[in-house]
Symmetry: C2
Subunit: 386 residues, 2 copies
């Protein structure tokens, strides 16, 4: 698809674009494979100013996409970060030019396993190269080049989005004025790798997965992907949140049914999470993106010393964690803060008290809004972004 | 199979027995269904004394069985609690007559979904009645009757075994002198129900499951059961234990492979857990037993007041929890202790400091051995059990 950038600048409507990147020079991935040209789909909100100094890049999480503040084209649901992005909100689209691109390996228009491999004319499937958080960020940097932006006012994201923020700050320090990594870590823990592996095995156990070559079969590994989503979803919540939300409440019933239907509301809720997810997400993309997270270990690229990843950085950092997040606990955020301090970086850190678990970054968390809003406001005023 | 009780008394060898229970009067289950006659398989160790005052009943956990201190007949591995049970050990078989029975709904000889329904002559499958922790304990009480034992010196178990201990103490206070519930709770939390539901959905998503009617197909839902086991296994460990054991170590490789093989040791370990489990466990039993745990809510049977479950109890309790157990955290053990205190019961409580997570009750935990050993020793001496 021909991109419509110029039109978008004139009319900052909520429309998406797809651009072809790496047309002249292929992108070299961490695996050593080269890829390109490849498509990247993205959304923008607001208007890029003359100085091109007001761009905010939002990096999405594992199952997120570019529809950060627009209705989702498949589900029709509101954007996943509508609370944060819009006129007068923390990421104020009257002030900032907000960009969010579907990650490399994704399934919402950016090159990924469900797209056509130009060499074979058939979907990539597992022929798509395994990608890393570093590759995702390198691909995004080509988009930012394409948009003619030298320096991003801010790179922000939660969970896997936060990993990308850290990677951006480490790989392109001169291009990131402010970095806001939320609910993330500089490396994926053994426990998190384990949970991801459960999800991958659930997908691969589904006969409809067919070794990843299911696109032309007319079937997709829905059952396996739903189980993967359910397993992951439990880790996004806290026990307190689950207890408050559902406890042991029964599902539309006065008493136990002594069967295997969803007796408890929490079961029904989980099943719903699984079933609705498969309509909007590609199972192979789930494999690739979880793998990218597992591989993430920012210190490893710098001799095992995380502080070196941020040497001489002039980026301002605002690290955010949530007290009840057990997937990316505050201890991991502290490791990032410690490394930033050890590299004399400009860093503030807030652990937000909440019982909502990892998913808190997507929810109504006034303290998060106030923290990030204040952090960006100061920088925006100093830079004359009105 | 004809039971060999008398022979066992004369020769306290490590042999198993199967007994037919509820021959004259069927057992009424919590669901209202009646079952019987039904088989129960069990192991005993040591010798029942003349006074029949030295019997210890061990209740096994979700995937445990009666082979508490004997090599497993399928896997050939040593008994699951060999550290606790044997001559000179905490549950000293020179002193105590130790009994462990496969739970109702299980798959190691006790009536369960893989056994033959006498009415149809075919395996029960999902025709087997849904059972509860209360049903498991009622069935065990028939075995204890059968063995001619009025009062058990001790009922002990971890995880689901601990739930049974609490149920025993509540349902048969006059038959339990000492109760040792370990790493458990008086009700299953929303988070734990959610994890169980993931496992059940993984099994049911496997086409080989065939609605539970797979026994005569020549295939079993191995893939789904393996995923269920993997998902559960992560919850049995702590992040610290996983980190210490595996961290981000690679599996027999110098570097990342950029593929979906088991790159990390933790992946390989999990896959092994899944694959070996399916050889020894029935998928339908997994459904039934997880359901029984989900249904467990001891207070609910007593007007929502847990203390009432233990009213006028003369049982001595030793409640044990582990500091890094996030499946059955210490807060849940405290709820049990608080209820026992509120019913003026004789209770001691120990939270053992360990980073091994929920599985600690199966592992080498000297403080657990010392705590439980001391607790039982005092009672044994007072009762003249030598």
């Amino acid at each position: 698809m021909r991109e419509r950038l110029d039109m978008k600048r004139a009319v900052p409507a909520r429309e998406g674009s797809t651009v072809t990147l790496a047309e002249k020079t292929p992108l070299r991935l961490d695996s050593g494979t080269e890829i390109g040209p490849f498509a990247m789909s993205y959304m923008t909100y607001g208007t890029l100013n003359e100085a091109k100094s007001n761009a905010v890049l939002i990096c999405h999480a594992l199952t997120g996409d570019q529809y950060v503040a627009s209705d989702h084209p498949v589900t029709g649901k509101p954007g996943w970060w509508g609370r944060m992005v819009g006129p007068g909100k923390v990421l104020d689209t009257d002030r900032y030019f907000v960009i969010c691109a579907n990650v490399l390996g994704g399934c919402m228009g950016t090159a990924g396993p469900q797209e056509i491999d130009p060499e074979t004319g058939r979907p990539w499937g597992l022929g798509f190269p395994v990608i890393t958080i570093g590759d995702m960020v390198r691909a995004q940097s080509l988009l930012i080049d394409h948009l003619g932006i030298d320096e991003l006012f801010c790179v922000i994201g939660g969970s896997m989005g936060g990993m990308q923020v850290l990677q951006w700050a480490a790989a392109y320090p001169e291009r990131v004025a402010n970095a806001v990594p939320i609910a993330c870590a500089a490396r994926h823990s053994a426990q998190n790798i384990a949970f991801h592996e459960v999800g991958r095995q659930a997908i691969m156990a589904d006969p409809q997965w067919r070794g990843g070559d299911y696109y032309e079969s007319g079937e997709t590994p829905r059952a396996g992907l739903a189980v993967a989503r359910m397993a992951a979803h439990v880790t996004y919540l806290s026990e307190t949140a689950l207890h408050r939300k559902f406890g042991r409440n029964l599902q539309n019933r006065e008493r136990l049914t002594y069967g295997f239907d969803a007796d408890f509301q929490v079961e029904s809720y989980l099943r719903h999470q699984g079933i609705t997810f498969v309509d909007r997400f590609d199972a192979n993309s789930y494999l690739y993106i979880t793998r990218a997270m597992d591989y993430f270990d920012l210190a490893a690229e710098h001799g095992g010393v995380l502080a070196r990843a941020f040497a001489n950085s002039r980026t301002r950092f605002c690290v955010v964690s949530f007290s009840s997040d057990w997937l990316f606990p505050t201890t991991e955020a502290r490791d990032v803060v410690r490394a930033l301090n050890a590299s004399a970086a400009n860093v503030s850190f807030v652990e937000i008290q909440t019982d909502k678990g990892h998913d808190a970054f997507l929810l109504d968390e006034p303290e998060m809004f106030a923290t990030i809003g204040g952090f960006l406001e100061a920088s925006a005023v100093r830079r004359g972004i009105l």
